[in-house]
Amino acid sequence: MRAVLDLYGPLHGLSLAAWLWLVPGLPLIGALLAGYIGLTALPREGEVAAARQLLAWRAGVGLSAAALALIRWGHDLQQLQHLARIFRVGRIELSADLLLDPVSLLTASSVLLASGALSFGRAGAARPRDSVLIPLATSGALVAALADAVPIAVLGGLVASLSGAIVASAHLRAFCIHRFSDALLLLGAATLAWALGGGFGAGEFTSDMSPRIAIESGSHDDARATAARSLPMDDDDDDDGPRRPASAGPKPLDLTGGGKASLTIAALPGSLIFLDESKTPLLSAEKIPVRTPVVRLSIPAGLHVVRLRPPGAGEDSLLSHVVATTGQDVRIIAVGPTTSLRETAEQLAASWLQGDRPLRTDLLSHEAWPGTRLSTLAALAIALGALLRLVSLAYSVRDFVGVSALISLPMLTLLTRLSPLLTVEPAVAGMVAAAAALCALVLAARAATASDGHGALVGVAASKAALSVVGVLAGAPGAALLDAGITLVAIVALEQALATTTGGPLLAANASKNAPSGWNRVFVFATLAITASAPIATELVAALGFSGAKAVPGVALLGASLSAVALGAFGLARVHAMSFATRSKDQPATTPVKAWIAAAASLIGAACLLGFDARAIGSDASLASRVVGHALDAGPANDLQSSVAPVTLLWLGLTLGALALARSRYTQAGVAGRSERSDASMGAAWAIAKPAALADLALVHAEALLARLTSKVSDDQPPAERSRGRLVWGLVVVGALPVVAIIASWVER
């Protein structure tokens, strides 16, 4: 039996979803269908099969979007679906749970929108495997976005990454970086799980890894009202559970109403629920034992003992003194080790009645070594893993930037869900935000100086991804997610627009070759959406107001972020100027229908995203009011920032001017030479093969030398002559051993 806590805290409403699996499942089915069509198609059916595959892709994505739209939203901000218990390691369980909340809804919508746009954009040029692997990547990205636990998010991310790597023809560097990102995420999750381990007994904390459950009863106001009517805890009770502080002063409660209360349990999914002394579990209306998770399960009002029996060989979890007054919904949460960021957030929010947060305090007291908290390391690992994944967009392959962005976007969801932990670890938020801002600046500079359209696009995409990280960490997660979603769709549109230019890979080669006018408009609109949307303004304002733990002045983040946005805008404008705006005699014949469809998709998507009410994401105010609020809320710190801001802007202007001057002097040959140098330097810095070669030199050869020393063998030695006699000898020796053993056994008997 395990002890319990009786805590209070602001919790999001939770409801159960039955069909949430359809959201990632339908694109998966579409991918499998497309694969089946491709495998069974005859060679002469090439075009027809490709059209069918494309249809399967679109159907999967479209139906998934429909399923997402049809999910009913009530007052609850979280919808949970428990799919399966994957395994139990020691006393830690990992379940495949999907969680739909405003954050994941926004990400999933963006992913589906982008995938749909890709399916239309690639209608003419799609290869058969694109129609299989891109919806597969979409499915993986949706799993990553909707996953409740970090390992499941990593798993979805792997499917997406693998599909993206294959579809983009050995997208190796990004694939390798994604694996390092996965390792960081899982390292963080494992560290967090250990840091959360522990329980309360006999007035002191004992660390271990046993999962526990606790009562959490809504907001503090409600809790105080409830506690004022709750029964006193029996001091003589031999239950080693926690004690509510005496100062809470619970008063006797009259439970004679005989009404109904309800029970909500999301902890320990798959467990049977036993009420009071009953030997049989609670049954549903169909007389089937109810298993967690349950939401608002009706129980009689009164004082209860709730027992959860997890599946398998786990021990029961017991909750004594569950006071359920008429009409009250008693929420039971998991306390202890978990890989779910939702459960982590619930634990960090839980408090005693007078406001102390024991679980948060305890988490912060766990140290890996003196002065370094486990929670710091966990938050750092997860945040850096997400950042690494997002900035790996810089290694996107030509024509697949949209796909790469699609598979990286869910990391923002993970980062947003990490916010409760980052709130108690402001230094980590500051460090990672500074790193992200620096990445954004460097990548935007790369976009501004790229020698071709692809380079500019990649730079802008990666820079915006890093900026979104800044936005999340700076306290504007809603705006950051909106910005990332808009950017994703816009990147898809930009990529399609660039694909219509008929010139060579270098910008200078495109200078006299216009793209279709429709794509011209798409490019302009997408550029504006990427660089001048309301969410960006909110992110920038948030950056201004952010000074994580006094270590990272918000003004520095603002300067870097603003510079990154401006440099990205400059890079895209330059691409537009040289590829689209220049007049040419070689006008393309027609404007393809797909251009209009992609433009419409991006317009509708951006409009939908921009119209999304930020309040649903957790902000108390709308985007506009937040922007205005930040602007008006000028305290002493902001005065300082305001004085530094003109300097930053001046520096930014000078930088842009210098870049423009340098760019205007480029010749095609010069650009080519610069491109080669740039690629070589980046390659040398990041190529996985280089450190591997060094390691091989150090390890393989040393080890081979050791093998030679021990076995006196040389690689240069010619292969031994093979004779039948040697084989016969070997057979006799090997065969004799079991024969002798069997004979010995027979003799013994």
Partner: protein
Amino acid sequence: MKTLIRALSIAVGLTLCLIFPARALAAPSGHITIERGPVELSQSGGSYKGGFAIDNTADTPLVLSRVAVRSDADDPRVPRNVTVEPEGAMPLTIAPHTRKRVNIAWTPEPTTRQRQLLGHVVVTSSDESSGEVAVGLRAQMPTPLGVVTDHALSTLLLLPLLGALAAIALYLRGISTRSVRAAAIAITVTQSALALWMWHAFDGSVTRADGNDGLQFVEHAAWLSRAGAEYFVGADAANVAVIAIIAIVSAVGLVATAPPARDAVAFDALYLIAQASGIGALAAQDALLWLSCIATLTLSVGFALAHFGDATAAVSVRRALGSLVPGFAAIAGALVILHLHADKTLLASGATVARSWSLPELARVSFVLKSGTVFGLPFVKVAYALGVAGALAYAGAFPVQSWLSGALSSAPTALGALLVVTVPTVGLHALARITMTLPEAARWAATPLLALGLASALASALSAAAQRDPGRALGLAVAAQTGLAVAALASSTQQGVMAFFVLIPARAAGCALFALAWGHLRDRLRVRDGLAIRGLGAHAPMLAVALTLGGLSAMAAPLTGSGWATMATLLAAVPRGFGAAAGVALVWATLAAALGRLTLRIVSGSLPDTLRDSRELEPHGGRVPDLRGRQLAAIALLALVVGAAGVYPGMLFSAAWGAARDLGPALNPKGPGEISLADAFPAQER
């Protein structure tokens, strides 16, 4: 006068007492004789009943003071509800030249998890010359196929051995027939079915507390009794899944590949012997039997590789033997040291032996309480170090991992797959065995072993990243996963122990799939450079899927069995320090990058013109032929197992649960089965 006579009488009495031992003056006792065991209990309703007779063969009465099952609360050797009832109340007197019967009954409850009863009844009598005597017991609940499933492990061992001996006889007589391959396939397919049934019927929640040393499907019979060795095999969490994997891989290897052009019968014979000895090495619970199986495995793989490998095989074989022979000697040395310090125990029949080779009995011995040194060092530490060194040599760990990568690169496809599931597995299994036997030494060596495991894993993963030959890269990936497994075990947490036992079969299945898929591709293209191959996905999608799935498993990617185990390893390493966990994460990422780079390169893109126009692909119109027919069916079966382990890892984790419950507390006795954070992070203890 009376006083004088009394004094003389006392003096004479005292003199007699001094001259004759007291025993001779005691009342003469009977002589106990018990029939040879083990006694088979037969089913009778819901119970299993049987008995044996105790004969008094002397002319004086024999008094029995105790007849009881050899078990106690601290060390439950048999399942519960075993009763022993002699004819008559205790103490029981047996008249001269008469006998008394002892009735034994085992009444399993519905919740009884053990399906077998193996134990002893111990009889204490007034016959001091015989001392305490015992008789073995055995009972078996019904199984689906009677004799075959009653003796599942023996069937798994004997089938291929008999097939191999028949093949050797045919080969020595110069008879070469294709029916040998057919028979070998039939044997391995039958084995696979039986091993899968055994895995399915295995109850992973069984622990030592359930009796029978936590073993299931036990076969315990006389073998070399004078030496204290027995034919003792049993299934536990450490071997049940991997035995099934070996059986499946060996069947798939034979079905999916063509026999060698020359000496095909000899190849099949060596293949079957290697497979059987691999299974035997995993199932053996007797140290001598274990060593015999390891020796047979080493020799059979060595001979097969030497004769049927490619041009570089000779170097690979010598390098392999250069690592494996010293490794074997180290394991043997460790076992001999332990045997010499073992306690008196009983054989299956009930006969007493001064020192046993039985591994469960060795695990009971409190070696740390015994004094003794080897080369001036405590013998426990020497034995553990030797055992670990030998185990790591077989597992292909750093710094001797080159033998594995070389052997995998040189071996024919089927042999490579068998090699990768047997030899490194036997090495890891040896590490588990030696740790179970010497948990105190394992605690002593935990930190160095953790460091060694991580260093080995990192070195191998980095080396793999530099390889262009996927065969060599696979060997290094196996070595890296070996290092991770060692780190998992050395973490001493319940999570780590479970990860170790899951990683063994998961790694074996995935790496075998990769070996088979790469072998097929290599045989089709005659190319060893993986980076020179592109476009497999477009040309041969089935082969590409198999290679990708195998590659993902070999790199321990999430959604594979080895990935879940590595995740558990990461979780287990945190209490040993954040640095250890970070090391696991680094190894994981490096390994994924290394194998991912090769696999993705091969699968994606389009086939280079040089390969398209090559002589090998000319008959196929410049296309890489895909898996077809029985090749596809066989490899699909293995892929299904690998995929199932990834999607439903519970099938691996549930089997390992009991072992984690047993070994976890032994390695980490402070907490209720796991390291507490207070121990792991003393800086914050309050």
